[in-house]
Point group: C2
Chain length 216, copies 2
DNA sequence: GTCTATACACAGATAGAC
DNA sequence: GTCTATCTGTGTATAGAC
Protein backbone atom coordinates (compact mmCIF):
# COMPACT_ATOMS: atom_id res chain seq x y z
CA UNK A 1 0.00 0.00 0.00
CA UNK A 2 2.52 2.63 1.03
CA UNK A 3 4.66 1.28 -1.77
CA UNK A 4 2.60 3.21 -4.33
CA UNK A 5 2.64 6.41 -2.30
CA UNK A 6 5.89 7.60 -3.83
CA UNK A 7 5.03 6.01 -7.15
CA UNK A 8 6.43 8.94 -9.10
CA UNK A 9 9.60 6.94 -9.70
CA UNK A 10 10.37 6.27 -13.29
CA UNK A 11 9.33 2.68 -13.90
CA UNK A 12 12.71 1.84 -15.38
CA UNK A 13 14.60 2.92 -12.29
CA UNK A 14 12.22 1.62 -9.66
CA UNK A 15 13.94 -1.69 -9.22
CA UNK A 16 17.49 -0.30 -8.87
CA UNK A 17 16.43 2.21 -6.29
CA UNK A 18 14.74 -0.34 -4.11
CA UNK A 19 17.76 -2.53 -4.65
CA UNK A 20 19.96 0.26 -3.36
CA UNK A 21 17.94 0.59 -0.22
CA UNK A 22 18.00 -3.09 0.28
CA UNK A 23 21.74 -3.07 -0.18
CA UNK A 24 22.04 -0.50 2.58
CA UNK A 25 19.76 -2.57 4.71
CA UNK A 26 21.80 -5.64 3.97
CA UNK A 27 25.05 -3.85 4.72
CA UNK A 28 23.73 -2.71 8.07
CA UNK A 29 22.62 -6.19 8.97
CA UNK A 30 25.97 -7.50 7.87
CA UNK A 31 27.70 -5.11 10.23
CA UNK A 32 25.40 -6.24 13.02
CA UNK A 33 26.07 -9.90 12.35
CA UNK A 34 29.80 -9.30 12.23
CA UNK A 35 29.69 -7.70 15.65
CA UNK A 36 27.46 -10.42 17.06
CA UNK A 37 29.78 -13.00 15.61
CA UNK A 38 32.79 -11.55 17.35
CA UNK A 39 31.05 -11.08 20.69
CA UNK A 40 29.65 -14.58 20.48
CA UNK A 41 33.15 -15.90 19.90
CA UNK A 42 34.60 -13.82 22.72
CA UNK A 43 32.09 -14.33 25.52
CA UNK A 44 29.48 -16.80 24.42
CA UNK A 45 25.76 -16.39 24.04
CA UNK A 46 24.76 -15.94 27.66
CA UNK A 47 27.39 -13.35 28.47
CA UNK A 48 26.76 -11.32 25.34
CA UNK A 49 24.26 -8.51 25.89
CA UNK A 50 22.11 -6.79 23.32
CA UNK A 51 23.12 -3.40 24.71
CA UNK A 52 26.70 -4.31 23.99
CA UNK A 53 25.89 -5.28 20.43
CA UNK A 54 24.01 -2.06 19.82
CA UNK A 55 26.81 0.02 21.31
CA UNK A 56 29.50 -1.60 19.21
CA UNK A 57 27.49 -1.39 16.03
CA UNK A 58 26.75 2.22 16.86
CA UNK A 59 22.97 2.16 16.72
CA UNK A 60 20.21 2.22 19.32
CA UNK A 61 19.02 -1.00 20.85
CA UNK A 62 15.51 -0.44 19.54
CA UNK A 63 16.89 -0.20 16.02
CA UNK A 64 18.54 -3.56 16.49
CA UNK A 65 15.19 -5.04 17.31
CA UNK A 66 13.81 -3.73 14.03
CA UNK A 67 16.33 -5.92 12.24
CA UNK A 68 16.15 -8.96 14.49
CA UNK A 69 13.15 -9.76 16.66
CA UNK A 70 15.10 -11.26 19.54
CA UNK A 71 18.53 -11.99 20.93
CA UNK A 72 18.17 -15.58 19.84
CA UNK A 73 17.53 -14.56 16.27
CA UNK A 74 20.53 -12.30 16.47
CA UNK A 75 22.75 -15.17 17.51
CA UNK A 76 21.14 -17.55 15.07
CA UNK A 77 21.87 -15.15 12.22
CA UNK A 78 25.54 -15.22 13.17
CA UNK A 79 25.53 -18.99 13.28
CA UNK A 80 23.84 -19.15 9.90
CA UNK A 81 26.44 -16.92 8.38
CA UNK A 82 29.30 -19.04 9.67
CA UNK A 83 27.56 -22.09 8.32
CA UNK A 84 27.28 -20.33 4.97
CA UNK A 85 30.98 -19.60 5.03
CA UNK A 86 31.65 -23.25 5.71
CA UNK A 87 29.42 -24.27 2.83
CA UNK A 88 31.18 -21.86 0.53
CA UNK A 89 34.58 -23.14 1.58
CA UNK A 90 33.56 -26.74 1.04
CA UNK A 91 31.97 -25.97 -2.30
CA UNK A 92 35.22 -24.40 -3.39
CA UNK A 93 37.29 -27.39 -2.25
CA UNK A 94 34.85 -29.69 -3.97
CA UNK A 95 36.11 -28.41 -7.29
CA UNK A 96 39.59 -29.73 -6.52
CA UNK A 97 38.79 -33.28 -7.48
CA UNK A 98 42.48 -34.22 -7.64
CA UNK A 99 42.88 -33.75 -3.89
CA UNK A 100 42.73 -36.89 -1.75
CA UNK A 101 39.66 -37.11 0.49
CA UNK A 102 41.69 -37.08 3.68
CA UNK A 103 43.40 -33.92 2.55
CA UNK A 104 40.02 -32.37 2.02
CA UNK A 105 39.08 -33.26 5.58
CA UNK A 106 42.32 -31.78 6.85
CA UNK A 107 41.67 -28.64 4.86
CA UNK A 108 38.26 -28.26 6.43
CA UNK A 109 39.64 -28.83 9.92
CA UNK A 110 42.36 -26.29 9.24
CA UNK A 111 39.88 -23.73 7.99
CA UNK A 112 37.69 -24.26 11.05
CA UNK A 113 40.59 -23.75 13.42
CA UNK A 114 41.78 -20.65 11.61
CA UNK A 115 38.32 -19.14 11.89
CA UNK A 116 38.33 -19.86 15.60
CA UNK A 117 41.81 -18.42 16.09
CA UNK A 118 40.69 -15.28 14.29
CA UNK A 119 37.92 -14.86 16.85
CA UNK A 120 35.21 -15.43 14.27
CA UNK A 121 33.82 -18.73 15.43
CA UNK A 122 30.73 -18.25 17.59
CA UNK A 123 30.96 -21.24 19.87
CA UNK A 124 27.64 -22.30 21.22
CA UNK A 125 27.73 -23.48 24.85
CA UNK A 126 27.91 -27.19 24.25
CA UNK A 127 25.04 -28.28 26.44
CA UNK A 128 21.38 -27.32 26.65
CA UNK A 129 21.18 -23.62 25.97
CA UNK A 130 18.15 -21.73 24.77
CA UNK A 131 20.18 -21.01 21.66
CA UNK A 132 20.46 -24.67 20.83
CA UNK A 133 16.73 -25.16 20.55
CA UNK A 134 16.43 -21.96 18.54
CA UNK A 135 18.96 -23.25 16.05
CA UNK A 136 17.18 -26.55 15.64
CA UNK A 137 14.11 -24.62 14.55
CA UNK A 138 16.16 -22.51 12.15
CA UNK A 139 15.76 -23.93 8.67
CA UNK A 140 18.65 -22.03 7.12
CA UNK A 141 21.02 -23.26 9.79
CA UNK A 142 19.85 -26.84 9.73
CA UNK A 143 19.93 -26.98 5.94
CA UNK A 144 23.48 -25.71 5.94
CA UNK A 145 24.45 -28.14 8.65
CA UNK A 146 22.96 -31.02 6.70
CA UNK A 147 24.69 -30.07 3.49
CA UNK A 148 28.04 -29.66 5.21
CA UNK A 149 27.58 -32.95 7.01
CA UNK A 150 26.67 -34.73 3.80
CA UNK A 151 29.73 -33.48 1.98
CA UNK A 152 32.03 -34.28 4.89
CA UNK A 153 30.37 -37.68 5.13
CA UNK A 154 31.28 -38.38 1.52
CA UNK A 155 34.89 -37.49 2.08
CA UNK A 156 34.99 -39.54 5.27
CA UNK A 157 33.63 -42.56 3.48
CA UNK A 158 36.04 -42.13 0.59
CA UNK A 159 39.00 -41.68 2.92
CA UNK A 160 38.10 -44.83 4.79
CA UNK A 161 37.74 -46.72 1.54
CA UNK A 162 41.14 -45.66 0.23
CA UNK A 163 42.72 -46.65 3.52
CA UNK A 164 43.93 -43.23 4.62
CA UNK A 165 41.36 -42.75 7.37
CA UNK A 166 41.02 -45.35 10.13
CA UNK A 167 38.18 -47.62 8.90
CA UNK A 168 37.50 -48.85 12.42
CA UNK A 169 36.09 -45.47 13.43
CA UNK A 170 32.36 -44.90 12.97
CA UNK A 171 31.94 -42.12 10.39
CA UNK A 172 29.71 -40.18 12.74
CA UNK A 173 32.47 -40.10 15.35
CA UNK A 174 34.89 -38.75 12.75
CA UNK A 175 32.37 -36.11 11.73
CA UNK A 176 31.84 -34.96 15.31
CA UNK A 177 35.56 -34.91 15.90
CA UNK A 178 35.99 -32.55 12.98
CA UNK A 179 33.16 -30.32 14.14
CA UNK A 180 34.71 -30.20 17.59
CA UNK A 181 37.75 -28.41 16.18
CA UNK A 182 35.54 -25.34 15.94
CA UNK A 183 35.54 -25.00 19.71
CA UNK A 184 38.77 -26.74 20.65
CA UNK A 185 40.14 -24.84 23.65
CA UNK A 186 43.66 -26.03 22.90
CA UNK A 187 43.93 -23.35 20.23
CA UNK A 188 43.21 -20.60 22.71
CA UNK A 189 45.47 -22.13 25.34
CA UNK A 190 48.41 -22.28 22.98
CA UNK A 191 47.68 -18.80 21.67
CA UNK A 192 47.64 -17.40 25.20
CA UNK A 193 50.89 -19.18 25.96
CA UNK A 194 52.53 -17.10 23.28
CA UNK A 195 55.13 -19.72 22.42
CA UNK A 196 53.80 -20.49 18.97
CA UNK A 197 52.50 -18.46 16.10
CA UNK A 198 49.20 -18.96 14.38
CA UNK A 199 50.40 -21.42 11.79
CA UNK A 200 52.34 -23.50 14.26
CA UNK A 201 49.31 -23.77 16.51
CA UNK A 202 47.09 -24.93 13.68
CA UNK A 203 49.69 -27.43 12.51
CA UNK A 204 50.11 -28.79 16.01
CA UNK A 205 46.44 -29.33 16.67
CA UNK A 206 45.87 -30.66 13.18
CA UNK A 207 48.65 -33.15 13.84
CA UNK A 208 47.28 -34.34 17.17
CA UNK A 209 43.86 -34.63 15.58
CA UNK A 210 44.86 -36.76 12.59
CA UNK A 211 48.08 -38.41 13.76
CA UNK A 212 47.22 -38.76 17.44
CA UNK A 213 49.39 -38.29 20.50
CA UNK A 214 50.99 -41.71 20.33
CA UNK A 215 54.21 -42.12 18.37
CA UNK A 216 53.97 -43.69 14.96
CA UNK B 1 33.67 -14.29 73.13
CA UNK B 2 30.43 -16.17 72.67
CA UNK B 3 32.55 -19.32 72.50
CA UNK B 4 32.85 -19.33 76.29
CA UNK B 5 29.15 -18.61 76.84
CA UNK B 6 28.18 -22.29 76.82
CA UNK B 7 31.46 -23.31 78.46
CA UNK B 8 29.73 -25.82 80.69
CA UNK B 9 30.86 -28.60 78.31
CA UNK B 10 33.13 -31.15 79.84
CA UNK B 11 36.60 -30.26 78.62
CA UNK B 12 37.17 -33.80 77.36
CA UNK B 13 34.15 -33.67 75.06
CA UNK B 14 34.43 -30.12 73.85
CA UNK B 15 36.42 -30.96 70.78
CA UNK B 16 34.20 -33.83 69.55
CA UNK B 17 31.08 -31.71 69.88
CA UNK B 18 32.51 -28.89 67.83
CA UNK B 19 33.74 -31.50 65.40
CA UNK B 20 30.23 -32.82 65.02
CA UNK B 21 28.91 -29.40 64.20
CA UNK B 22 31.64 -28.88 61.73
CA UNK B 23 30.87 -32.22 60.15
CA UNK B 24 27.28 -31.12 59.67
CA UNK B 25 28.51 -27.85 58.27
CA UNK B 26 30.87 -29.67 55.96
CA UNK B 27 28.16 -32.09 54.87
CA UNK B 28 25.87 -29.21 53.98
CA UNK B 29 28.54 -27.49 52.00
CA UNK B 30 29.32 -30.74 50.27
CA UNK B 31 25.70 -31.05 49.21
CA UNK B 32 25.80 -27.50 47.92
CA UNK B 33 28.96 -28.08 45.95
CA UNK B 34 27.58 -31.27 44.48
CA UNK B 35 24.54 -29.41 43.21
CA UNK B 36 26.63 -26.54 41.89
CA UNK B 37 28.89 -29.01 40.21
CA UNK B 38 26.04 -30.64 38.36
CA UNK B 39 24.40 -27.38 37.33
CA UNK B 40 27.73 -26.03 36.20
CA UNK B 41 28.20 -29.10 34.05
CA UNK B 42 24.68 -28.89 32.67
CA UNK B 43 24.31 -25.21 31.82
CA UNK B 44 27.58 -23.47 32.46
CA UNK B 45 28.40 -20.65 34.84
CA UNK B 46 26.43 -17.82 33.26
CA UNK B 47 23.22 -19.78 32.85
CA UNK B 48 23.33 -21.23 36.35
CA UNK B 49 21.38 -19.12 38.84
CA UNK B 50 21.82 -18.96 42.58
CA UNK B 51 18.08 -19.33 43.06
CA UNK B 52 18.27 -22.59 41.21
CA UNK B 53 21.09 -23.85 43.39
CA UNK B 54 19.24 -22.92 46.57
CA UNK B 55 16.05 -24.57 45.35
CA UNK B 56 17.77 -27.81 44.44
CA UNK B 57 19.73 -27.98 47.64
CA UNK B 58 16.53 -27.25 49.52
CA UNK B 59 17.65 -24.20 51.50
CA UNK B 60 16.98 -20.50 51.26
CA UNK B 61 19.13 -18.39 49.04
CA UNK B 62 20.25 -16.26 51.97
CA UNK B 63 21.51 -19.38 53.70
CA UNK B 64 23.61 -20.18 50.65
CA UNK B 65 25.27 -16.81 50.95
CA UNK B 66 26.21 -17.63 54.55
CA UNK B 67 28.28 -20.51 53.21
CA UNK B 68 29.68 -18.83 50.11
CA UNK B 69 30.00 -15.07 49.78
CA UNK B 70 29.24 -14.92 46.07
CA UNK B 71 28.26 -16.88 43.01
CA UNK B 72 31.85 -16.86 41.87
CA UNK B 73 33.02 -18.44 45.11
CA UNK B 74 30.27 -21.00 44.73
CA UNK B 75 31.52 -21.97 41.30
CA UNK B 76 35.13 -21.81 42.36
CA UNK B 77 34.44 -24.24 45.19
CA UNK B 78 33.05 -26.71 42.69
CA UNK B 79 36.09 -26.30 40.48
CA UNK B 80 38.39 -26.81 43.44
CA UNK B 81 36.65 -30.02 44.38
CA UNK B 82 36.98 -31.44 40.89
CA UNK B 83 40.62 -30.50 40.93
CA UNK B 84 40.96 -32.32 44.26
CA UNK B 85 39.35 -35.38 42.75
CA UNK B 86 41.81 -35.24 39.89
CA UNK B 87 44.71 -34.94 42.32
CA UNK B 88 43.43 -37.91 44.29
CA UNK B 89 43.06 -40.00 41.16
CA UNK B 90 46.55 -39.16 40.00
CA UNK B 91 48.03 -39.81 43.42
CA UNK B 92 46.43 -43.23 43.37
CA UNK B 93 47.77 -44.03 39.92
CA UNK B 94 51.16 -42.79 40.94
CA UNK B 95 51.44 -45.82 43.21
CA UNK B 96 51.24 -48.13 40.21
CA UNK B 97 54.84 -47.72 39.21
CA UNK B 98 54.71 -50.76 36.94
CA UNK B 99 52.32 -49.02 34.55
CA UNK B 100 53.84 -47.44 31.46
CA UNK B 101 53.69 -43.62 31.42
CA UNK B 102 51.54 -43.48 28.33
CA UNK B 103 49.04 -45.80 29.98
CA UNK B 104 48.95 -43.45 32.93
CA UNK B 105 48.12 -40.60 30.57
CA UNK B 106 45.41 -42.65 28.94
CA UNK B 107 44.01 -43.50 32.35
CA UNK B 108 43.81 -39.84 33.25
CA UNK B 109 42.14 -38.96 29.96
CA UNK B 110 39.69 -41.80 30.47
CA UNK B 111 38.89 -40.68 33.98
CA UNK B 112 38.35 -37.12 32.79
CA UNK B 113 35.96 -38.19 30.08
CA UNK B 114 34.02 -40.44 32.40
CA UNK B 115 33.56 -37.59 34.83
CA UNK B 116 32.26 -35.43 32.00
CA UNK B 117 29.92 -38.14 30.74
CA UNK B 118 28.55 -38.50 34.25
CA UNK B 119 27.64 -34.82 34.23
CA UNK B 120 30.12 -34.02 36.95
CA UNK B 121 32.61 -31.92 35.03
CA UNK B 122 31.94 -28.21 35.47
CA UNK B 123 33.17 -26.86 32.16
CA UNK B 124 34.23 -23.27 32.38
CA UNK B 125 33.32 -21.23 29.28
CA UNK B 126 36.65 -21.38 27.52
CA UNK B 127 37.15 -17.69 26.94
CA UNK B 128 37.20 -14.66 29.17
CA UNK B 129 34.56 -15.18 31.81
CA UNK B 130 34.38 -13.53 35.19
CA UNK B 131 34.87 -17.01 36.61
CA UNK B 132 38.23 -17.38 34.94
CA UNK B 133 39.75 -14.44 36.74
CA UNK B 134 38.23 -15.61 40.01
CA UNK B 135 39.90 -18.99 39.61
CA UNK B 136 43.28 -17.47 38.92
CA UNK B 137 43.06 -15.73 42.28
CA UNK B 138 42.04 -18.95 43.98
CA UNK B 139 45.07 -20.48 45.64
CA UNK B 140 43.53 -23.89 46.27
CA UNK B 141 42.55 -24.22 42.62
CA UNK B 142 45.83 -22.98 41.23
CA UNK B 143 47.85 -25.18 43.58
CA UNK B 144 45.86 -28.21 42.49
CA UNK B 145 46.24 -27.27 38.87
CA UNK B 146 49.99 -26.91 39.25
CA UNK B 147 50.37 -30.22 41.02
CA UNK B 148 48.29 -32.03 38.43
CA UNK B 149 50.19 -30.36 35.63
CA UNK B 150 53.53 -31.28 37.18
CA UNK B 151 52.61 -34.92 37.52
CA UNK B 152 51.20 -35.11 34.02
CA UNK B 153 54.28 -33.33 32.78
CA UNK B 154 56.45 -36.05 34.27
CA UNK B 155 54.47 -38.78 32.58
CA UNK B 156 54.51 -36.89 29.30
CA UNK B 157 58.28 -36.53 29.45
CA UNK B 158 58.73 -40.18 30.35
CA UNK B 159 56.40 -41.32 27.60
CA UNK B 160 58.26 -39.26 25.04
CA UNK B 161 61.57 -40.66 26.27
CA UNK B 162 60.46 -44.27 26.01
CA UNK B 163 59.18 -43.60 22.51
CA UNK B 164 55.50 -44.28 23.10
CA UNK B 165 54.40 -40.65 22.89
CA UNK B 166 55.22 -38.60 19.80
CA UNK B 167 58.47 -36.78 20.74
CA UNK B 168 57.86 -34.13 18.09
CA UNK B 169 54.97 -32.69 20.07
CA UNK B 170 55.71 -29.93 22.59
CA UNK B 171 54.84 -31.28 26.05
CA UNK B 172 52.65 -28.27 26.73
CA UNK B 173 50.54 -29.08 23.69
CA UNK B 174 50.10 -32.63 24.92
CA UNK B 175 49.12 -31.37 28.35
CA UNK B 176 46.51 -29.00 26.94
CA UNK B 177 45.17 -31.73 24.69
CA UNK B 178 44.61 -33.95 27.71
CA UNK B 179 42.94 -31.14 29.65
CA UNK B 180 40.69 -30.47 26.69
CA UNK B 181 39.14 -33.92 27.08
CA UNK B 182 37.31 -32.48 30.10
CA UNK B 183 35.12 -30.38 27.83
CA UNK B 184 35.22 -32.35 24.61
CA UNK B 185 31.78 -31.94 23.03
CA UNK B 186 32.20 -35.16 21.06
CA UNK B 187 31.29 -37.11 24.18
CA UNK B 188 27.98 -35.36 24.50
CA UNK B 189 27.29 -35.59 20.77
CA UNK B 190 27.83 -39.32 20.73
CA UNK B 191 25.82 -39.77 23.92
CA UNK B 192 22.90 -37.84 22.44
CA UNK B 193 23.12 -39.92 19.29
CA UNK B 194 22.33 -42.96 21.39
CA UNK B 195 24.22 -45.36 19.14
CA UNK B 196 26.96 -46.15 21.63
CA UNK B 197 27.09 -46.89 25.32
CA UNK B 198 29.24 -45.11 27.81
CA UNK B 199 32.26 -47.37 27.50
CA UNK B 200 32.20 -47.39 23.72
CA UNK B 201 32.10 -43.61 23.65
CA UNK B 202 35.07 -43.28 25.96
CA UNK B 203 37.01 -45.88 23.99
CA UNK B 204 36.25 -44.13 20.73
CA UNK B 205 37.33 -40.69 21.85
CA UNK B 206 40.34 -42.09 23.64
CA UNK B 207 41.31 -43.79 20.42
CA UNK B 208 40.95 -40.69 18.27
CA UNK B 209 42.92 -38.75 20.86
CA UNK B 210 45.90 -41.08 21.09
CA UNK B 211 45.82 -42.91 17.78
CA UNK B 212 44.47 -40.10 15.63
CA UNK B 213 41.96 -40.19 12.81
CA UNK B 214 44.42 -41.31 10.16
CA UNK B 215 44.89 -45.02 9.58
CA UNK B 216 48.00 -46.62 11.04
C1' DG C 1 22.56 -20.27 60.35
C1' DT C 2 18.02 -20.41 58.71
C1' DC C 3 14.27 -18.10 57.07
C1' DT C 4 11.07 -14.14 54.52
C1' DA C 5 11.15 -10.03 52.34
C1' DT C 6 13.45 -6.70 49.78
C1' DA C 7 17.02 -3.70 47.78
C1' DC C 8 19.57 -2.93 43.63
C1' DA C 9 21.20 -3.57 39.06
C1' DC C 10 20.73 -4.86 34.59
C1' DA C 11 19.05 -7.50 30.72
C1' DG C 12 15.57 -8.29 27.05
C1' DA C 13 12.08 -6.17 24.86
C1' DT C 14 8.53 -2.07 23.61
C1' DA C 15 6.22 2.47 23.15
C1' DG C 16 5.87 6.27 20.68
C1' DA C 17 7.82 10.59 18.74
C1' DC C 18 10.30 11.90 14.60
C1' DG D 1 14.06 2.80 10.71
C1' DT D 2 16.13 5.53 14.08
C1' DC D 3 15.98 7.50 18.29
C1' DT D 4 14.93 8.32 23.77
C1' DA D 5 12.55 6.69 27.46
C1' DT D 6 10.43 3.06 29.72
C1' DC D 7 8.33 -1.40 31.08
C1' DT D 8 8.99 -5.90 32.99
C1' DG D 9 11.23 -9.75 34.50
C1' DT D 10 14.91 -11.78 36.74
C1' DG D 11 19.37 -12.29 38.99
C1' DT D 12 22.78 -11.22 42.61
C1' DA D 13 23.08 -9.92 46.95
C1' DT D 14 21.37 -8.13 51.83
C1' DA D 15 18.47 -6.79 55.86
C1' DG D 16 16.61 -8.20 59.73
C1' DA D 17 13.61 -11.30 62.45
C1' DC D 18 14.05 -15.75 64.82
Amino acid sequence: MSASASASDTPAKAAPRRSFRERMHQAREDAIITTVNRLLAEKGYEAMTVDEVAAEVGIAKASLYKHFPSKEDLAAAAMVRVMERARAFIAERRGLSAVAPIEQLKAVARWTMEVQLDGEMPSLPSENSTLRTALIDNKAYMDGLMEVSDQLGEWIGAAQSDGSLNPALPPIAVLYTLYARACDPVLGFLKTGGLFDREQIVDLVLSTCFEGLRAR
